[in-house]
Every structure is written in structure tokens, then in C-alpha cells.
């Protein structure tokens, strides 16, 4: 029964992942007084890409060919570890939140290699920048996780969300994680998903040579990565997962609450993106310096017991 529920939850999250992106894009467009694409546009994009032929660069090797599979499977593997609707996720026997960080690193590693593999300067540039940003994100995420760990005594993502009134340390950790998430999901002010301007793109530069279903898999991978991060953050700020055996009504309520939390985060991110300009690449270290200080505040306030 529980396993069934968990599988259902997994499928629900996979299917809902592109929706978040659609909602963010729609909110952004509406804030800019534009009509905007339909909320379901990411789904249309994926379907469209899956039905297209594919062009592969003749200078690329097998690394380029397998990268989409690695990206998608690493995102899915990370998704299985996320606490969302059902409590007591059995998949957490396979890994904790630190493992999620490393699993994402696997997908990123291959995507960065694929960027270099095509031999275009864009790809190499994107890879270099992506790895640069990611390496700075890692210590900040680790500090935030550490501050939560000090209170929960576990790095199991589910245990990191501590029920009860929100503590100061949780707020700092959440702020730190939001900054990490913005960078990891390639959003403003670190990266801009909407641009294809050579000098500013990071993630888009890496995947420039992909087309057809390979591109669809990579896009799906990044949608899933986004919902993984949003889900983790939502759980940390306000844990709401319920036990699978507590009946259908609480489970549906929990699912609705989860959806609401993630939706709220998506709207927050959309607002942030509209009001922030992109940062120079060489200010990324300052951005993460700030995130790291928030992480340190989180650790200190957690040590103070607040």
C-alpha cells in the first residue's frame, strides 16, 4: 500500500514538474503586463521536441549521446528521495539530502562534458560557468543542511523538516537554500533561462547543440531538478507529509498542501526574477559569499537554540 502510494507520488511529481516552470513563466509575463504563453507550454514543448528529428554534432562522441540519459536519470533518482506527500519515504534508505547534492552533481558533470564535446566555444563557455557556479553553491548548501542537522540529528530529507513553529535558524537556512536553488535552477540573477544571448547564457549555452528528444530529456531533467529543490525547501520550512496509512482524505489534503507550498515558492521565485537584473559572472562569488553568511547565521542560530 505504502509502496503504491510512493510510486503514485513519484509519478505525480514527475508529471507536475513542467507545470511549475509554466506557472513561473506565466506569472512573470503577467507581472510584466504581457499575456504570456499558456501555463501548459512546457508540456507542449516536450511533446513537440519528442516528435522531432535529432541533429547530432559530427565532432561529438558517445559522451554527448549518453548525457541526456544521465541527466534525466540522475534527476529522477534524486526525485525519489524527496519528501513530498507521503511520510516515511522508503527510498530514503538509498540516500539522504547530501546524496541528493552528489546525485545532481552527476547529471551536471555529464552535461558539462557534453557542452565541451561539441567543440563549439559556446558549449565550453557554458560548461565552465556552470561548474564555476555549482562549485560555489555546494558549500552554502552544506552549511544550510548542517544547521538543520544540528537540530534534527539526521540528514534524511524528511527529518530535516521539523514540525512546530518556524525557528530563526530555519528561516536563515531557507534563505540560504533559496539562493542556492536560484543558482541550481539557472534563474536570475545568476543565469537567465529566457535568453539566448551568447555572452550571458550559462545553462542554455551548454545544451545549445541538443535537439529533438535529447533536448526534451534534458529539459525534463531540469524541470524535475527544480521540483526536487522546491519540494525539499517546502518540506524544510513547513513539513506536511502524512503517513500513507492515515486514509485517503489526509493524503489528498497533504497533496493539496504540498501543491500549495510549491506554488507559493514558484510565485516567489517569479517575483524575484522580475525585479532582479542579471549579475555579472564574476560577482557570483559575492552572491555565494552572502549565501554562505546566511548559512553561517543559520548554524549559529541553530547552536543558540533559536
Amino acid at each position: 500500500m505504502k509502496i503504491m502510494m510512493l510510486v503514485l507520488q513519484f509519478l505525480f511529481l514527475v508529471l507536475a514538474a513542467p507545470l511549475i516552470c509554466g506557472i513561473i513563466a506565466r506569472v512573470k509575463n503577467n507581472l510584466r503586463m504581457r499575456k504570456g504563453a499558456p501555463v501548459l507550454q512546457p508540456y507542449y514543448n516536450i511533446v513537440k521536441l519528442l516528435s522531432k528529428d535529432e541533429v547530432v554534432s559530427s565532432t561529438a562522441s558517445w559522451v554527448f549521446r549518453i548525457a541526456p540519459a544521465v541527466v534525466l536519470s540522475s534527476s529522477m533518482a534524486a526525485l525519489a528521495l524527496v519528501p513530498a506527500v507521503i511520510a516515511g519515504n522508503s527510498a530514503n534508505l538509498a540516500g539522504d539530502l547530501l546524496a541528493v547534492l552528489f546525485i545532481f552533481a552527476l547529471g551536471r558533470f555529464f552535461l558539462a562534458l557534453a557542452g565541451i564535446d561539441t567543440g563549439s566555444a559556446f558549449g565550453g563557455m557554458g560548461s565552465s560557468r556552470e561548474m564555476f557556479i555549482a562549485s560555489f553553491a555546494e558549500p552554502c548548501a552544506s552549511l544550510a543542511i548542517f544547521s538543520l542537522f544540528l537540530r534534527s540529528g539526521s540528514t534524511n530529507p524528511e527529518m530535516l523538516g521539523i514540525p512546530g513553529p518556524v525557528q530563526v535558524s530555519t528561516v536563515f537556512a531557507a534563505l540560504c537554500l533559496i539562493m542556492v536553488i536560484i543558482a541550481e535552477t539557472s534563474r536570475l540573477p545568476i543565469d537567465n533561462q529566457e535568453t539566448h544571448l551568447e555572452l550571458t547564457m550559462v545553462h542554455e549555452a551548454m545544451v545549445l547543440e541538443y535537439s529533438g528528444s535529447s533536448l526534451a530529456f534534458i529539459e525534463a531533467g531540469s524541470y524535475i531538478k527544480q521540483i526536487v529543490w522546491f519540494g525539499i525547501l517546502a518540506h524544510i520550512v513547513m513539513p506536511s507529509a502524512v503517513s500513507a496509512s492515515s486514509g485517503l482524505v489526509p493524503v489528498i489534503g497533504s497533496a493539496a498542501l504540498f501543491g500549495g507550498k510549491v506554488l507559493g515558492l514558484a510565485v516567489c521565485v517569479a517575483f524575484l526574477e522580475v525585479f532582479i537584473a542579471k549579475m555579472r559572472l564574476f560577482r557570483v562569488q559575492d552572491y555565494f559569499g552572502f549565501a554562505g553568511i546566511l548559512g553561517l547565521f543559520a548554524v549559529i542560530s541553530s547552536l543558540m537554540g533559536i
Binding site: 525519489a80 567543440g119 565550453g124 565552465s128 534524511n156 557570483v284
Partner: protein, 605 residues
């Protein structure tokens, strides 16, 4: 001279064997046609003595045997660094190496003499007894001597200066043994002499080791990012990985003084685990780099590219090693870095004061930073070397290396995978070793509910299972492949890379290693102090024919630490010259004065 084989020694013997055997297999192909027969015999006998001396280091049971083996190991490895002495770099590297390693040995001898003063015996058992009754300031002094002596061999910052010169200069199979195993004997020395014999009583010892470890991690990986010589890059990563190992060992030392034996045990297991992992993947990577060197005749990454097409086996095996060292699941580097993070976290949880908790948390963040930077560095190392288009004729014409070289690499690829997937078994085996080191009864200690799942702290619900992660990745990956093969019937067309309508996209348009590391150079400018040099070659007074543009980074440790030290030594030598003017009368006077002084001293004691 006595020898022994307790669990710690056996563990290190296993590590030595793990790397030595594959590199010997590899050397058969690697050395083919490179040297004359006489030099080959010399090289093989030196290699044999080298491996044997390492085994003697980790099994000796008294300090005389230990020092003897240690010196043989140092000298033979010096000869091996110097083996290709027709290159000027080798001579230079050998010189730096022999000076540094002997300075280290001198410090060790000083430590051993202090220990002997209290034990009056050379064997470890009597030293262990005597160490317990040493005055605290002597213990501190012995610790400092041991740490700096072994630290020189291990290559911790700022004593790492020789490592990036010496390791790459030796023949590649020797580089792999030096980086994979020889520097680990220093870790053995630290564990044996500091933790087992001396006994950790002071908290600042562990703090010092942790701080040095974190600095080594970060400095090692940042310098590696700047490096475009593929073997030098790997050597800098040895500095980094020694730092990661020492994070585990240092956390163990710190936690021992707090009485947290369980956390200390976990930290030591994490350190030992990373030690064997590093031996496996660094051995593999050095062998891979050697294969690239053999095939292209260069170690400069900027002249490589596209090698994966001509050298598919080497490429795939190097990629595996690169993934492992970047701590990507489900391979071995991931498990040990995860365990180190967990042990730092758990140690912080049980640490005695808030300051220590914060300190250990920052250490964990430093480790996370290191693994992120290492992943970036290996995207560069693998991507620029093996992917895209060849950047030089040598790279274009490279051929796959011989069977024995591939077999040597494959022999090291097996433990890279197995140590990752069999994490729970490895931890179980290491529990015995670490328990023996800390003289704990580990019969009831278990780090996991079954043979698939690791659980660093019972009851905390923190789990890790690399087989399950691998299964997950494999299932989803297989789904994608299935989709490509069966469901998706769309055509795949090969076409040239998008060139913005330029139509002449060549290897010159590719991103280079220098360009790849540019953001890091800017971000870490405070440490690297990069500078540029532009040369203009003038056609005439008005016109520049061509530009030559170079970027360099300042060797900070050499410039601000070793150069002033060298200056100091030179000026001291200059002073000594003044009292040695060559007059025999004066010398006789010196001898007379010494004799008088000695007699006077004899009377006093």
C-alpha cells in the same frame, strides 16, 4: 629490527598491493621501446625495491626498521623521479624532492630521539608505554615534529611544494604508485605514531590537523584547476585528497579528546576509506595520463582533444576515474566523501562546545566546496583532453595503447566500482581496522542494518546505499535508452556543430583549458595573484605584426615562504663562510676551543 602485521599494517599492505600490481602490469606496455635494456633492468629493480620498502615501512615494529625502510623508500623514489635525467625538469624536481624529503626525515628522527629518551627501547611497544608518561610539553614537541615530518611526505600545504614537481616527472606507472601509495605511508605514520603510540590528549592537535587538512583540500584543488599539465594537475589533486583523508583523521583525533569514541571511530573509518579509494582512482588516473602521454608525446592539455575517438578504452577508463575523484555516485569517492561529511556532522552534533560545532560545520563546508571544485577540475581534465576536436597533429594521430596498459588500468577500474557498490562491506571491514587502532571493542558496532545499506548513526534514519542508487540510475537510464531504441523512431542526423554561419569551425574555436579555468582564476585572485604579459612583435615603428599574450599565476608559497627561507639559509651560509677563511692556524684554534669547552661541560654534568 622487527616486523609485525596488525590490522592497520595489513590494511596498508593491501593498499600497496592494490596499486602496485596493476601498475606493474601497465609498465610492461608503457616501457616498451622507451629505454635501453640496461636501463630497463635498472628501472625494474628500483621499482621492486621501492615497492618492497613501502611494504617494510608499514610492517616495521621498531623505529630503526621504520627509519631504514623510510629512507630506502625516499631515496629509491628520488632515483625514480630522476630516472629520465635527460630532461632538465627531472633534475630540478629530484633536487626539490630530495631536499624536502630529507628535511622531513630529519624532523622524524628528532621526534624518534625524543621518544627514545623516555622509552630506552626501539620497539613500538616500549615506546607506546613510555609515551604515556612523557611530560606534556615534550609530547607537544614530538607531535609537532611528527606532523611536520610526515606532513612533508604526505604533501600537506605548505609542505606540498615538492609534490607537483616530483610526481609527474617519474615514469607514469611510478607516478601512480607514488601518488596512490607512497604519500599514504605518511598517513600510516601519523596514525601509527600519533594516534596509536603517542595517544591524542590535546584538543589542539586535532584542530591543527583539521585546519591544515582543509587548507590542503582547497589550495590543492585550486592549484589543480590552474594546471594544464595533465600529470601535474593530478599531482595537485593528491594534495587535495590527502587533505580529505586528513579531515577524517583530524576529526578522529579531535573527537577522541572529547571522549566521543563512536564518532572518532566513524571519522577514522571515513579517512581510511578515502585513503584506499584515492589509491584506486588516483592510480587509475595517473595510468590514464601516462597512456595519453605515451600516445601523444605531450602532457600539455592544450595540445590534446578528441582522444576518446582514437583511444576509446583509455577514454572510458579515465572518465571512470574522473567521476570517482569528483565524488559522483555510485562510485567509491562519493561514498568516502559522504562518510567524511557525515562524520564531521555527527562529530559536531556530539562536540563538547558550540565553538567546536561551528568549527566542524565549517570543515564540512570546506569539504563540500572541495568536491564541487574537484568536479569542475575534472570536467576540464577529461573534457579538454578527450572530447571535442584534436588541437594538435599528435592528438589527431594518437593510437590506442597496448593491451597490457589497458589491462593495468582496467585492474584499477574494478576496485573503483567495487569499493563504491560494496560500501557496506568495506565499512564493516574497516571497522575492525579502525577499532584496532583506537583499541575499541567493535563487536557490537555496526554501521548499517544489512549488507546493502550504510547508516552512520543508528537511530538517526540517515542512510546511504550505493547499490540502490545505482539501481535507480540504471533503471531510469535504461528507460531512456529503451525510448531511444524502441519508441522513438525519429531520424538522427549527423551534422557539423553550429558555427554562427562562420563555416570554418576548427579546433582553434574550442574552449581551452585556460579559458575553462578563467572564472576560477578571477574568483581566487587573492590566492593565485594572476598577472598578464603582452609581447608586441613590431613589423615597423607603426605596425604590430603579432601579439604574444601570456597569463601566469604567482607561485605564492614559493614566493612568500620558500624564497625568503632560502634567502635566510644563503645569508646564514655567508655568515658561516666568514669564520672559515682557510687558515689552518685558526682551525687548530677552533679544535682547541671545542676541546676546552667539552671538558668544561663534562665537569658540569
Amino acid at each position: 629490527m622487527r616486523f609485525m602485521a596488525d590490522p592497520l599494517s595489513v590494511f596498508f599492505l593491501a593498499v600497496i598491493g592494490l596499486v602496485s600490481v596493476p601498475s606493474l602490469v601497465y609498465s610492461a606496455g608503457y616501457l616498451h621501446g622507451q629505454f635501453t635494456r640496461r636501463r630497463l633492468i635498472l628501472l625494474h629493480s628500483l621499482t621492486g625495491i621501492f615497492m618492497f620498502s613501502m611494504a617494510a615501512v608499514v610492517t616495521s615494529a621498531d623505529i630503526i626498521a621504520f627509519l631504514l625502510a623510510w629512507e630506502i623508500m625516499s631515496l629509491v623514489s628520488f632515483f625514480l623521479v630522476l630516472f629520465e635525467h635527460e630532461h632538465e625538469q627531472s633534475v630540478q624536481a629530484g633536487l626539490i624532492y630530495v631536499i624536502m624529503t630529507h628535511a622531513g626525515t630529519a624532523l622524524l628522527i628528532a621526534a624518534f630521539m625524543l621518544m627514545y629518551r623516555y622509552s630506552h627501547g626501539f620497539d613500538f611497544a616500549s615506546i607506546g608505554v613510555a609515551c604515556a608518561s612523557m611530560p606534556q610539553d615534550v609530547r607537544n614537541l614530538v607531535f609537532i615534529f611528527l606532523l611536520s615530518g610526515f606532513g612533508t611526505k604526505a604533501g600537506i600545504v605548505p609542505l606540498h611544494i615538492w609534490l607537483p614537481y616530483a610526481h609527474p616527472q617519474a615514469p607514469s606507472h611510478i607516478s601512480s604508485v607514488m601518488s596512490g601509495v607512497m604519500i599514504k605511508t605518511a598517513i600510516y605514520g601519523m596514525i601509527r605514531f600519533i594516534i596509536v603510540l603517542l595517544g591524542v590528549t590535546e584538543a589542539w592537535w586535532g584542530n591543527l590537523v583539521l585546519v591544515l587538512a582543509a587548507i590542503s583540500c582547497l589550495v590543492g584543488v585550486i592549484y589543480a584547476l590552474m594546471e594544464h599539465d595533465i600529470k601535474k594537475l593530478l599531482a595537485y589533486h593528491s594534495v587535495e585528497n590527502i587533505g580529505i583523508i586528513l579531515l577524517g583523521v583530524g576529526a578522529c583525533m579531535l573527537l577522541l579528546t572529547m571522549g566521543q569514541t563512536y564518532c572518532a571511530l566513524l571519522a577514522l573509518i571515513a579517512g581510511l576509506y578515502h585513503l584506499v579509494n584515492h589509491a584506486a582512482f588516483k592510480g587509475l588516473l595517473f595510468l590514464g595520463a601516462g597512456a595519453v602521454y605515451k600516445a601523444t608525446g605531450t602532457r600539455d592539455m592544450e595540445k590534446m582533444g578528441g582522444l576518446i575517438r582514437n583511444m576509446p578504452w583509455t577514454g572510458a577508463l579515465f572518465l571512470l576515474g574522473a567521476m570517482a575523484i569528483s565524488a559522483l555516485p555510485p562510485l567509491n569517492g562519493f561514498v568516502s566523501e559522504w562518510l567524511t561529511l557525515q562524520s564531521l556532522f555527527l562529530g559536531a552534533m556530539h562536540a563538547s562546545s558550540g565553538g567546536y560545532k561551528l568549527f566542524l560545520g565549517i570543515m564540512a563546508a570546506a569539504l563540500a566546496f572541495t568536491s564541487g571544485l574537484a568536479a569542475a577540475c575534472f570536467v576540464k581534465a577529461f573534457g579538454i583532453t578527450f572530447l571535442a576536436q584534436p588541437r594538435s597533429p599528435q592528438a589527431r594521430d594518437a593510437k590506442e595503447v597496448s593491451l597490457s596498459m589497458r589491462a593495468g588500468m582496467a585492474l584499477l577500474a574494478v576496485p573503483v566500482v567495487m569499493l563504491g557498490l560494496g560500501a557496506a562491506w568495506v565499512v564493516k571491514a574497516l571497522t575492525g581496522v579502525a577499532g584496532n587502532v583506537l583499541s575499541l571493542d567493535t563487536a557490537g558496532v555496526s554501521f548499517g542494518p544489512n549488507a546493502l545499506i550504510l547508516a552512520p548513526a543508528s537511530g538517526s534514519q540517515t542512510y546511504l546505499s550505493t547499490p540502490l542508487i545505482f539501481a535507480g540510475l540504471a533503471v531510469f537510464g535504461a528507460g531512456v535508452v529503451f525510448y531511444y531504441r524502441r519508441i522513438n523512431k525519429r531520424a538522427v542526423r549527423m551534422f557539423k556543430t553550429w558555427d554562427c554561419g562562420y563555416y570554418r569551425l576548427s579546433a582553434r574555436n574550442e574552449y581551452t583549458a585556460t579559458a575553462f579555468s578563467k572564472p576560477f582564476r578571477v574568483a581566487f585572485a587573492f590566492l593565485l595573484q594572476p598577472y598578464r604579459r603582452t609581447h608586441k612583435i613590431w613589423e615597423s615603428f607603426y605596425q604590430v605584426r603579432s601579439f604574444k599574450y601570456e597569463t601566469h599565476t604567482t607561485p605564492v608559497f614559493k614566493k612568500y615562504f620558500y624564497d625568503p627561507l632560502l634567502q635566510l639559509i644563503f645569508s646564514a651560509a655567508g655568515f658561516m663562510r666568514r669564520i672559515q677563511p682557510g687558515s689552518i692556524h685558526l682551525y687548530i684554534g677552533y679544535i682547541f676551543a671545542t676541546v676546552v669547552l667539552l671538558i668544561a661541560l663534562m665537569r658540569k654534568f
